[in-house]
Amino acid sequence: MLIEWTLNGRPMRSEVSPFQRLLDYLRTDLKLLGTKEGCREGKCGACTVWVDGQIANACLMLMGQLAHKEVTTIEGINEKDRFTPLQEAFLTNSALECGFCIPGMLMTGTALLHQNTNPSRLEIRESLKGHLCACTGYQKILDSIEGVGLPPASEGQARMRVRKP
């Protein structure tokens, strides 16, 4: 089946089985390995991509569903090989350990920040409901997303909200 769709801003015409999952097509056929394969059941969020600007699990989408849709993966969110403010915040806050869940977290965090430039802690928690991270305990990830809405810090310093004791 010939599918016409857009991937990371580039128009695509893909001759694929409509039953192939988007995740498999990205990783196996296109070698876009930033989108991770975790549970394949939509529970871990490691395969999160944007479909028409909304976050979705690539493991729960068939190529047949993607006709005329616009898909963005983690490879498509950088501008000219520069880190986004959220990626910078993850680095400066040490919000990643093994890094497996991070592409998905970045996709969700960036989508949230597009909708709301200064989300509350609760809104960030709600948006990350579909992600699992076995290493960090989530707090530094929450700090990073929360911190992007703050004014820039000096170089090398994390953008973090200082909590009163």
């Binding site: 529970k43 969020g45 999160t48 976050i55 579909g130």
Partner: protein
Amino acid sequence: MEFLSPQYLSEAFEILDRRGKELKIAAGMTHILRFHTDFPQGLSPSLKAILHIGNLEVLSDIREENQKYGIGSTATLSSLAADSYLARYAPAILDAVLATSTPQIRNRRTVGGEIGWGSFHSPLIVTLMALGAKVRVRFQADTGENNHPGREDSVDLMEFYEGQLERTSSCENKQVTRSPRSKGQHLIMKVAIPDEMLHRGGTFSFFRGLRPKISMENSGVVLAVHGYTHQGVIQSAHMVASGLWLDTLSTKLPLEGVRMGDTYIFEKLYSFCDRYSFDKYRREGPSGAQLGLVVFGLLKEGFSHLMGN
């Protein structure tokens, strides 16, 4: 296996009438892909094609028409959550949607898919039932002896189901869901909530769910209440609940004449839950007494929230 993705509703009807029995109708596909991990291999051998209706924009409308609030079957759960009319007049729907699965899945899962799958754990189904929703269904035309064209019908959501359906995948996944009453092939077109359930003066509704910590998908117990008050006194209150006991419970709450805000509500609710025969509905899960306590806890939480506590 074929993948049919019509662009127009008439095209979908034509495929439905011609090939009804050998079709599986799907839109967001989140239920089916999670359940059949080796999709499409795990499907019944009699199925020859997937009819994908997710691109039919005409079925994704959410709007008021003919004194009903219509929700198209391919409207996603996140589009329900974003609807300002529903947020204002049916906050229970917003709560139910936000209690469903994850944001990623809510962006893909459709209202028709949620109703078609018929999970006993679905927050949206009990809430729509409590709000008296009707389902508009298009049945396959009979090309045999009777030779009648495809017909459309509106059915109460409560009447849409009958008994249980045990679903099994080729990977030995098993799930017991509600079984649609109609055995013929049918396409869910939309769900309609009567206007009077939404913005008649003094209307109230809430949704509450108890979610086991180990599961993001299946709530243990889901419960929705809809009712009316007049000058602060409850005139009627109706509860629909379902969950791990694998049946749907629909009953009036004995709160007529009680003033909203009076803590006597909780005594009445406790007495009701203590005496109610939950065992009659229970197929699996905890005992009737345990369920009574869980339901009381959820009702108490919901009414406390309404009363501003």
